[in-house]
Symmetry: C2
DNA sequence: TTAAGTTAGTGAACGGCGTTCACCGTAAAC
DNA sequence: GTTTACGGTGAACGCCGTTCACTAACTTAA
């Protein structure tokens, strides 16, 4: 039988550690308001820029790597926000994560831009894969599915949907594990896409500042988006509590 | 009485023409897939880079200038799309302009990014002013107002809205002419903001490629966004026709 | 018409960027 | 113990935004 190589060689350990340090240095730069540049990252590691080419094919790949790790780290924070609520408060957990997402985006606009407002279309297949591996997407699709497993609210039927949507739901390219989701329940993924679109619209507009500052500050457009979306996932009766929950987190955040 | 200076001096004419050529050269670069750079723009005009500093304080100001002009030109296209419909088909005209906006954004992603996905927050007051002067915003607020003047669909009442929203509606910083809109009707602006948020969310997600390619191609998430929004502006009965109108324009666009 | 003053342009330079390349120790592999 | 592969260096190239001293041309006023 094939044994898993658990003990990486000395060189491989070094290499792995260096990868981590590259990401760490890049994120520090970002956090300090500076731009990510090969020279800056390298010098922060006590290296010179050309050395980084032993780890990364080019600048864009460095940025993609950093974006991927930022998404992973941020997702942990979104999940933690959900864990502050009871395990069976599925709707509350979803609201908590989404609210945390918004607050993270507003406090880390550069990171948000890197992960969520970077054109993927013009990139190679590498980045296309990243799309489906998007960690925060997996978290929220999972949360929405948990909610539905519990409430079993009505779903859009595939037969009622346009063909392009049906195809996309049967074999989705977005970050969602649907292999074990029955075909007749795939309407749930369509609902998720709708919800993600609304969430994204509000947050992107807020982060880019294309919205009245007072409404950004209070987060009321974000709350309003939730109010619009709630009925689609059978939460009309719970909406009052959920919106209050979001407002609380916004106020104290 | 003070006479308007209609005959600009020779120098002023030259200067104005040069401004226009700067914008033209920049847009050509953008259209060819190149980046805007002072050197590239200048050499396209038969100049050297430092000369541009006689017209623009720095690189960012050049970009802002170009973004402003792009928005103006694109808005003319959005308006033209509306003019293909009867003058009294207010809903249809709004749908036509919004659909044209989406198609323009997808065909000109770099221009879209420049105008609508550029962080305004970190910029100076110059750019803040641009926010309220945004041409496409004025077009669509105007269209939504024309629609409402005709249908007089119910509006959210100021008393029911959060205080931050009320303040923003009474003295809006977004592109909207509301001076002649009665205070009790300002809920219309809130509806507009909601609609703009949905439209923006779909389009930005599509342009950045963070959506299933098949759904981008068919535009069905865009259509779905309209379906969600229609009831808010009293268009539930007209929705069928309007969605068909949008689909037509998408298909032949 | 001439003199003074303003303006728009130049070339050289600075520091920083991504990227390439020849080169060199050192650690791993045989 | 020799060979090989890897990870690093410094120098260089061609971009970039930006500054500065300088000049030629145009405008303005005497």
């Amino acid at each position: 039988m094939t044994q898993v190589q658990t003990t990486a060689s000395r060189r491989e350990q070094q290499r792995e550690a260096n990868f981590e340090e590259i990401v760490r240095a890049s994120r520090e730069l970002l956090a300090e308001g500076a731009e990510i540049s090969l020279r800056a990252v390298a010098s922060r590691m006590g290296m010179t820029a050309p050395a980084l080419y032993r780890y990364v094919a080019n600048y864009q790949e460095l940025v993609d790597l950093v974006a991927f790790e930022i998404d992973k780290a941020a997702t942990a924070a979104f999940a933690a926000a959900a864990d502050a609520l009871p395990e069976d408060d599925y709707a509350g957990r979803l609201v908590a994560s989404a609210t945390e997402f918004r607050m993270w985006a507003l406090s880390n606009p550069r990171e948000f831009g890197l992960v969520f407002a970077n054109p993927i279309a013009e990139a190679q297949c590498v980045r296309r894969e990243l799309l489906t591996q998007n960690a925060s997407g997996h978290l929220m699709t999972g949360q929405m599915r948990a909610l539905w497993e519990h409430t079993r609210h009505p779903l859009p039927q595939l037969a009622d949907l346009p063909e392009s949507v049906r195809e996309a739901l049967l074999d989705p390219l977005i970050p969602a594990e649907v292999d074990d989701l029955a075909v007749e329940d795939r309407g749930l993924v369509w609902l998720f896409m709708q919800g993600w679109t609304m969430l994204y619209g509000v947050v992107a507009l807020e982060v880019f500042g294309h919205m009245d500052p007072r409404i950004i500050e209070s987060g009321e457009m974000f709350v309003e988006a939730f109010r619009s979306f709630a009925p689609k996932v059978g939460l009309e009766d719970d909406a009052g509590r959920l919106l209050a929950l979001a407002r609380d987190r916004i106020r104290q955040g």
